[in-house]
Amino acid sequence: MTNMEEILNNKYFQLLSFLITSARGCIDEPPLYGPLRLLDAASRVIDMMEKEKMVDEKISNIKNLILQAIDILMVDENEFIKIVDEISKELGKYIAN
């Protein structure tokens, strides 16, 4: 890591910045923004895993569910919670196998 531009474009640094600023944001923001930020971070982690060829179809499906949840939050809170439950279920199934 030599120059600032590389650092700013580095996925780990971007996740680090996101986590720190989300932590501050969650103090004042609506309570559901906490899960929203965590899901956003999870999606970013999956993006990083993709680059390391660690993502199979099931993880990819989890990412799609995460993106659906993020999209629906502002429109339908109950549906958001349902999708987050679905994500947890899919994760559990993945780990169990």
Binding site: L8, N9, F13, Q14, S17, F18, T21, G25, E29, D40
Partner: protein, 183 residues
């Protein structure tokens, strides 16, 4: 003064109803001229006591946009331009105890003007409130007496999303006294 004109009022309502929060943008540059039109719409918003204590920072430099994105969890799109909407507290305080509160309301009206002007130019926008003020002040060298209130993102949309449902008028509008529905 503008004359009462049905086609103008219909067009205005069409603009108001058509504007959406856009979070997916094309990689297409917005001209500086168009951004100036958008900003001009902003400065013609109403302002309490005509104090105009707002200050706007237009950002088009991709590196600066990237830096702001890094400290703005609510900014996950790839906009061409940003406008950072600020209140200059030294100016707002001239409005007395209500000065800051009024300034924030003025800024909200300026933001709506800008988003409507953008929409009329085929440009999408999204208001962002989830950002780290402390970090952005460092990045943009904003002095202590200036507060960041809102960021607007601008870009040509990938798609215009459907409108989310609105609460019906009878739920949110009362007639002559609180709780009495309008027919």
């Amino acid at each position: 003064m503008i004359e009462n004109n049905i086609s103008q009022s219909s067009f205005l309502l069409e603009l108001i109803k058509g504007r959406r929060a856009i979070r997916n943008f094309q990689k297409k540059e917005i001209s500086l001229d168009d951004m100036k039109k958008i900003l001009e719409a902003g400065i013609w918003a109403p302002s309490g006591s005509n104090l105009q204590s707002w200050e706007f920072i237009l950002i088009k430099d991709p590196q600066t946009i990237l830096k702001i994105k890094l400290v703005s969890p609510g900014l996950f799109s790839n906009p061409d331009s940003l406008v950072v909407l600020c209140v200059n507290k030294s100016k707002a305080e001239r409005g007395g105890k209500l000065g800051i509160e009024m300034a924030v309301m003025d800024l909200a009206m300026a933001a709506q003007n800008m988003m409507l002007m953008a929409y009329s130019l085929g440009i999408g926008s999204c208001p962002i409130a989830s950002f780290n003020k402390i970090a952005i002040k460092q990045i943009l060298n904003i002095p202590n007496n200036v507060d960041i209130i809102l960021i607007l993102t601008f870009g040509y949309p990938q798609t215009w999303p459907k409108a989310p449902p609105r609460k019906p008028i009878k739920e949110v509008v009362f007639y002559d006294k609180y709780g009495r529905n309008i027919e």
